[in-house]
């Protein structure tokens, strides 16, 4: 079956504009995660969804960042009033059941965001 998909694959925007990044998890996966990888940095956890709810938003760097998930499937990460430091690769991952350490996280190809 298809893996995790993300769109767009690349996004160039101007500082101050809003952007939406989309993630389609593997069908039937209930847990969904967003990570960010800035240049020269490791992957940084942003937010975790179980179904449509987000019990852990602790990694969101500021209130300009928000995310939602609908129908227990597609998730959208929105960045408002983008700043140059938001430039990064945004990765989405999903896992089959309730998130726990034994669950493998399956990653999407990422969205490369460049804020000019």
């Amino acid at each position: 079956g298809a893996g995790v998909s993300q769109s767009p694959s690349n996004k160039v925007t101007e500082k101050g504009k809003d952007v939406e990044l989309r993630c389609d998890p593997i069908s039937g996966h209930t847990a969904l995660y967003w990570y960010r990888q800035s240049l020269g940095q490791g992957l940084e956890f942003l937010i975790y969804f179980q179904g449509n709810s987000a019990p852990d938003k602790s990694g969101l760097p500021s209130d300009r960042f928000s995310a939602e998930r609908t129908g227990g499937s597609v998730s959208t990460l929105t960045i408002q009033r983008t700043q140059q430091e938001d430039s990064a690769v945004y990765l989405c991952a999903s896992s089959p059941r309730r998130a726990r350490v034994s669950e493998t996280q399956y990653f999407g190809p990422g969205t490369r965001l460049l804020v000019l």
């Binding site: 940084e44 990694g59 350490v101 190809p109």
Partner: protein
């Protein structure tokens, strides 16, 4: 706080040579450790995890709690092992045990 350190950004070896990718961690509790790999133009994928104690593609990793290390090893490197390798850590139990903390990665190049 959790922290994962991969001291080598780049590692280059010849085919058939042994390879060791270093990973050190900082965590006050009991950790679970993972290695993820990203081959060229492919997505990030799990290579192996400590709790499974398995060998994948000839790679092994041993958790050394005394040295707080989880180095990845392979006795004979192959060209197809060339990739970016990330070490990651999570709690072994309790809340937030799904949250992975990643190192910055080591780019392994295996030369013919």
């Amino acid at each position: 706080a959790q922290r994962v350190t991969q001291p080598e950004k780049l590692l280059s070896v010849f085919k058939g040579a042994p390879v060791e990718l270093k990973c050190n961690y900082s965590y006050s509790g009991s950790p679970e450790l993972f290695w993820y790999v990203q081959y060229s133009r492919q997505r990030l994928q799990l290579l192996l995890r400590h709790i499974s104690r398995e060998s994948i593609k000839g790679f092994t990793a041993d958790l050394n709690k005394g040295e707080t290390s989880f180095h990845l090893k392979k006795p004979f490197a192959q060209e197809e092992d060339s990739a970016m390798y990330y070490c990651a850590l999570s709690r072994s139990s309790g809340g937030s045990n799904y949250k992975l903390t990643f190192g910055k990665g080591t780019l392994l190049t295996v030369n013919p």
